[in-house]
């Protein structure tokens, strides 16, 4: 399928190109909705479609007013601040706890390993609406509902499975004799961890942290239930915006978030390459 052999029959030739076109259409379906909001966010009108001016590339058809609204509107700014306060705290908590646990789980003799793993992975499997419902009931009992820390703890719990999975994946390729060699050369466990193990697993830790960050930064269901008005995050603001009075500012926010995802994707890809190189899985 990678290339058409010279002896291909006309039927094969037709199918080859049909298949390529079909795949192209599916890729278009995947990427078009995300890409179309970027030009629409520069619309000078409060419309959600291309105006004749925009199609004619008339500069008057474009403006930055929706971005301007995002950066000056106090609601959006408060939402941005909340997101920036909640996501990093949840990320740090999830990454530290998750990395330690992943190292513990990678040892050769762990009792009840599969049961522990099932519990630790469960926040990723249980549908968000159920987690949100349970947390809402339980956190109201213990007075965490509607508080900053309630949201942070919930988001950290949702993010830990990703840290465990990514760090465990890097630890699979980790050569345990390096730790023994370090111990043999007189390093204590803490030194060994920071000087030998950490530099090798850091790509996994960072990509786990990125997953945890994006989990919290994008999360809306749990925060809708657990948060009060003063914990309103960006996704929450977008959700209410989409449900009640849809304003084009949402498109500006969405475009900014697409930019963030592109940055994240690039960082992850670089990390993956570095990790493969360090572990000698791929040349260069």
């Amino acid at each position: 399928m990678s290339a058409l052999p010279p002896y291909a029959s006309p039927l094969q030739r037709t199918w080859f190109y049909t298949f390529r076109i079909l795949c192209g259409l599916i890729f278009f379906f995947l990427i078009f909705p995300i890409m179309v909001i970027v030009p629409l966010s520069f619309n000078a009108q409060d419309f959600f479609t291309f105006t004749p001016e925009m199609l004619a590339f008339d500069p008057a058809g474009y403006s930055l007013k929706h971005y301007d609204d995002f950066f000056t509107n106090p609601d959006w700014q408060q939402a941005l601040r909340n997101s920036v306060m909640i996501a990093p705290a949840a990320t740090i908590l999830a990454t530290v706890l998750g990395t330690l646990a992943a190292i513990g789980l990678s040892q050769s003799h762990v009792p009840y390993k599969s049961a522990i793993m099932a519990v630790l992975i469960s926040p990723m499997i249980v549908p968000l609406i159920i987690s949100a419902a349970g947390m809402y009931f339980f956190y109201s009992r213990i007075g965490l509902q509607g508080t900053y820390w309630g949201v942070v703890l919930a988001h950290a719990a949702l993010g830990t499975p990703f840290v465990i999975i990514t760090v465990t994946a890097t630890l699979v390729g980790f050569d345990r004799s390096l730790v023994r060699a370090a111990a043999n050369l007189g390093a204590d466990p803490v030194t060994t961890f920071f000087k030998v193990q950490m530099p090798l697993i850091i790509p996994g830790v960072v990509s786990g942290a990125l997953f945890a960050f994006i989990t919290s930064f994008d999360e809306v269901v749990v925060v809708l239930f657990l948060g009060s008005a003063s914990q309103q995050t960006l996704p929450w603001q977008m959700f209410t915006g989409l449900r009640e009075q849809i304003s084009p500012t949402i498109l500006a926010v969405a475009s900014l978030m697409v930019a963030i995802s592109i940055v994240l994707l690039t960082v992850l890809e670089l990390l993956r390459r570095r990790s493969e190189r360090l572990r000698g899985l791929s040349p260069g």
Partner: protein
């Protein structure tokens, strides 16, 4: 030689038996790994697992009835709903005492709301009665006060009801009030001969002290307490003998006068306040939902209901949940199939292309995967609406007329399109990782043996890709049946899922028990699917990106 070694115990350098030393080292290693895991395990247990169990508990928990009207629940045990007649005076008496406590603590409306889930109309019955119940003891209160003005004074009641030691302690506290007043104690004599009065007065004293931060020596007692005293004195005319001093005089005088008192039926007072109290059907509902645990929420979640005669299905026009479960399943299956149909060619292409091209194209899959769910949902909301880009293009190309713009949002079409787009990467990635491992030489071998392209694909390639299909399909299906945000925003009323109903019961209708029961059913479905996923893929093989 074998004898020599078996008798000789191997030791480490410092003389310890090797076996013990190894066991110790192993134990240490286990401890160390557990210590590393423990913080996260405890964290997840508290922040995540405990909430899930709380939800499971709430789906069967029903303490509100037996906690709010305990005396009534006990009195109702004797009553038989089959008779079709409302219960007797004793049940209404118990209800009066429960009701006055509940009203003062403002808990009767909560109970009304809870029982209203089972029988409409009970909420307003409880609310309306709550406004009147404080007058129900008035007839008796007036007669006691006419008999002796002293019964009007809070201090008189304290003299009769409180234990001597509490009276002492209270006096000491009153002369030098530091900290809260000593907790009220009933006198043994009152407890012995005036049981109903003690019960209700004890509740009153506690309420005054704890909720109002006041003293029973200064607060007028609730009027139903007079009714309780009347009841006790009628039952026990010699009650005064148990008391001494001033209390004995007061109780003696009252006991002598009580047989001549004018009486009122509490039952009639309740029925007068709201005639629904006379309905045996309502009492049957209260009796049915008196136990601490109930299957009622689960039955509601399955469109059934618990009636005094047993479980039966709700009337057809009230059945919504089975249909909603069915729709959630159906839409999830449609979404899974659409994802498979769109994802299979892409994964196939990615696996067949050389790495440098496939890595580039993979970015087109990963970008949507990494983009915020709300961004993608808002994109579809913008694209699909009637004045949106897709309709504009269709009108411009002349495929549809301006008046015939397609309705693609706020219905099932919207949910299916948007969710297929959102979940497509979850199908492509597992498929791709399986297809990458399929060696192209099998297909080549099949072709060299005479198979045409289709046979080679269908008989050789496709069977090898089935594990990927299984993994991707289950993953997409698990994610789809629990989805909330996208159906809520683009699904309208015909495209919503069971999750939307759960959210509705938590935040709008406040029927938490039903929300918990629906959530539990959904959770069970997801866990069963997950076990299947674990069998096919293995939990350790979950990969990201």
């Amino acid at each position: 030689m074998s004898d020599a070694t078996s008798n000789q115990v191997l030791t480490t350098q410092d003389g310890k038996p090797l076996k013990a030393a190894l066991a110790r080292a192993l134990r240490r290693e286990k401890m160390r790994s557990l210590l590393l895991i423990a913080p996260l395990l405890i964290f997840v247990l508290i922040t995540f697992v405990a909430p899930i169990f709380d939800m499971l508990f709430r789906s069967v928990e029903n303490q509100i009835v037996s906690e709010t009207i305990p005396r009534t629940v006990v009195a109702l045990e004797e009553w038989d709903a089959e008779t079709g007649e409302a219960p007797g005076e004793d049940v209404y008496n118990a209800l009066l005492f429960d009701f006055i406590i509940a009203v003062e603590n403002k808990r009767h409306t909560q109970l009304g709301t809870r029982l209203n889930y089972e029988q409409t109309g009970l909420s307003s019955m409880f609310r309306r009665t709550g406004r009147r119940v404080d007058d129900f003891g008035e007839t008796y209160a007036d007669q006691f006060i006419d008999l002796n003005e002293a019964w009007k004074e809070p201090v008189t009641w304290v003299t009769v009801m409180a234990s001597p030691s509490w009276i002492e302690a209270q006096k000491a506290w009153a002369s030098n009030p530091t900290g809260p007043e000593p907790a009220f104690e009933l006198s043994p004599a009152a407890l012995d001969v005036l049981p109903a009065t003690s019960d209700l007065y004890g509740a009153f004293a506690q309420f005054v002290q704890v909720e109002e931060n006041d003293s029973p020596t200064e607060e007028d007692p609730w009027t139903p307490i007079y009714k309780a005293l009347y009841q006790d004195l009628s039952a026990n005319p010699n009650a005064a003998t148990a008391f001494s001093g001033e209390a004995a005089t007061l109780v003696g005088q009252a006991a002598a006068a009580v047989p001549a008192f004018e009486t009122v039926s509490v039952k009639e007072l309740f029925i007068d306040a709201d005639e629904d109290w006379g309905s045996a059907e309502n009492w049957a509902v209260i009796k049915t939902f008196a136990p601490t645990y109930t299957s009622g929420y689960f039955l509601s979640a399955a469109d059934a209901q618990l009636t005094p005669t047993g479980v039966e299905m709700k009337p057809d026009d009230e059945q919504i949940y089975l249909f909603l479960f069915y729709r959630t399943l159906l839409l999830s299956i449609i979404i899974t199939i659409s994802c498979l149909l769109l994802g299979y060619p892409i994964a196939f292409l990615l696996a067949a292309l050389p790495l440098r091209y496939s890595n580039l194209l993979l970015i087109l899959v990963l970008l949507p995967f990494w983009t915020s769910l709300l961004v993608r949902t808002s994109a579809w909301k913008v694209l699909l609406q009637q004045q949106g880009v897709i309709n504009d293009v269709l009108v411009w190309t002349g495929l549809i007329s301006d008046a015939g713009r397609l309705v693609m949002i706020n219905n099932q079409t919207g949910t299916i399109i948007a969710m297929t787009h959102i979940l497509l990467p979850f199908m492509i990635l597992p498929l791709y990782s399986v297809m990458k491992t399929i060696s192209p030489s099998y297909v080549r071998a099949a072709k060299s043996l005479g198979a045409n392209d289709w046979t080679a694909f269908w008989r050789v390639y496709f069977p090898q890709s089935i594990p990927g299909i299984g993994a991707g399909a289950i993953l997409v299906f698990i994610l789809a049946i629990g989805y909330y945000i996208t159906p809520e925003l683009v699904g309208g009323t015909s495209g919503i899922f069971i999750s939307n109903r759960i959210a509705f019961h938590i935040s709008s209708s406040l029927n938490w028990g039903l929300a918990a029961a629906l959530g539990t059913l959904l959770l069970v479905a997801v866990l069963l699917l997950f076990v299947a996923y674990d069998r096919i893929v293995g939990i350790d093989n979950v990969k990201l990106g």
